[in-house]
Amino acid sequence: MSKWQCVVCGLIYDEAQGWPEDGIAAGTQWADVPEDWVCPDCGVGKADFEMIEIA
């Protein structure tokens, strides 16, 4: 399980936690996060920015 960080706002997506508020279950790998998911903090889309693998 790795963590990914939004380069626009610094939000961290932790694969182990998923993002349950948006229906993304714990354990969902970054590659399996829907392409139209948007960053909950800055609103920028997954396809529109880079998440940096941080761990």
Binding site: V7, D36, V38
Partner: protein, 383 residues
């Protein structure tokens, strides 16, 4: 011979993200970034969540200026203002110092609209529009309790939520019938306002602050409806005006923002604009998502591949955790009928045209999770 540099004025999200995107395509052309600020990289949306997270300004910094210079292979000149641009000569001035550019990008941002409030305390009003503002405000309210917030728009509501969550007691004063007028429908506004009220925010919608006076260490605000609010600090969040003066003085076309075409080019060659200062094909959208679309398109253009920017649907996530809200405003000029489903705080407020095409939405509370499905049916803002 390295040639004249690409010069970017501004080190906010627009300037830095353009630089980052462009460097992926061009690693050799010199890059100079000129900033009136200290050049630290931070994400402006985080200024709306810093009190709840109890973050000092320094903790919101993602990279200092040295790290940015290295990462972008750029020269950075901070605390520096461009005083004049001569587009015909491809030259700009920093006071008495002239610089020649290959191409120039205006990523100037926007200024808080300032009110001239009668009384003896006009300078006690804070605007929070950049990291240094945030730092000053945090220091000013350390140990204080009562904040009067002028403005109930998107940023006003985000601040109201955040400051309250951070332990301050907040009174909102704004001359409108409901929160976020012009952005969301009354039903959604009522849900947000109720949730913020339940959190402890005091709303005074209708009047304006007609006078602000010092009262010992505190402040006394007189409202136009006769009410009096005693407070320790005042924050103004009544909107932003694109910074256009430098462009106008240089003979570039300006309207609400600096006028640019779909390739982000100003009315004279080799000058471009993006972000909060720019009006792209008539649209001045002060949000992160359009800014990122512009950064990617302009990076290609500046790397030799002329590229027009397009905007898909641009839903805006409003950071009011007391009542989460996502807004997709209908495209300009498209009228439709609004319908309200659900029960506050979980509302699905949808706008359809006569053919049944979804034009926009306001989703609150538990309905915000539906945004991804709805986004697929939204029209593009700039196809």
């Amino acid at each position: 011979m390295s040639g004249a540099p690409l010069v970017i004025i501004g080190s906010g999200l627009a300037g830095y993200n353009l630089a980052r995107e462009w460097r992926k395509l061009d690693s050799t052309t010199p890059l100079l970034i000129i900033s009136a600020d200290d050049g630290r990289s931070y994400s402006k949306p985080m200024l709306s969540t810093g009190f709840a997270k109890n973050k000092q300004a320094d903790e919101l910094v993602m990279a200092d200026v040295g790290a940015m210079a290295e990462q972008l292979n750029a020269e950075l000149r901070t605390h520096t203002r461009v005083t004049r641009i001569e587009p015909e000569a491809k030259r700009l001035w920093l006071g008495n110092e002239a610089l020649v550019y290959r191409d120039l990008v205006l990523a100037l941002g926007a200024d808080p609209i300032q009110l001239d409030i009668p009384g003896d305390a006009a300078e006690a009003v804070f605007s929070i529009n950049d990291l240094e503002d945030y730092d000053r405000f945090r220091q000013a309210v350390a140990g204080k309790q009562r904040v009067l917030l002028m403005g109930a728009g998107l940023i006003g509501c985000e601040f109201a939520n955040d400051l309250t969550s951070g332990g301050l007691s907040v009174s909102v004063v704004a001359p409108c019938e409901h929160v976020m007028p012009g952005l969301i429908q009354p039903a959604a506004a009522a849900a947000v306002q109720q949730a913020l009220s339940d959190l402890g925010v005091q709303f005074h919608l209708g009047p304006v602050v007609s006078q602000l006076k010092r009262d010992g260490d505190a402040l006394c605000a007189q409202l136009s409806d006769g009410q009096v609010i005693n407070c320790d600090a005042v924050v103004s969040a009544i909107g932003l005006r694109p910074r256009t003066q430098l462009a106008a003085d240089a003979g570039l076309a300006v309207a609400r923002g600096v006028v640019v075409d779909r390739q982000l080019q100003c009315s004279l060659a080799h000058v471009y604009a993006l972000g909060d200062c720019a009006e792209v094909d008539g649209l001045n959208l002060q949000y992160v998502m359009p800014l990122m679309n512009c950064a990617r398109a302009l990076a290609k253009t500046l790397a030799g591949e002329p590229t027009a920017v397009s905007y898909g649907a641009m839903p805006v996530v409003v950071k009011t955790p007391a009542c989460p809200l996502v807004v997709a405003p209908p495209p300009a000029g498209r009228a439709g009928n609004w319908t309200v489903e659900g029960q506050a705080p979980d509302l699905r407020v949808l706008c359809h045209d006569e053919q049944g095409q979804l034009l926009g939405y306001n989703l609150t509370g538990g309905c915000t999770g539906e945004r991804m499905a709805l986004n697929k049916g939204l029209p593009a803002l700039l196809a």
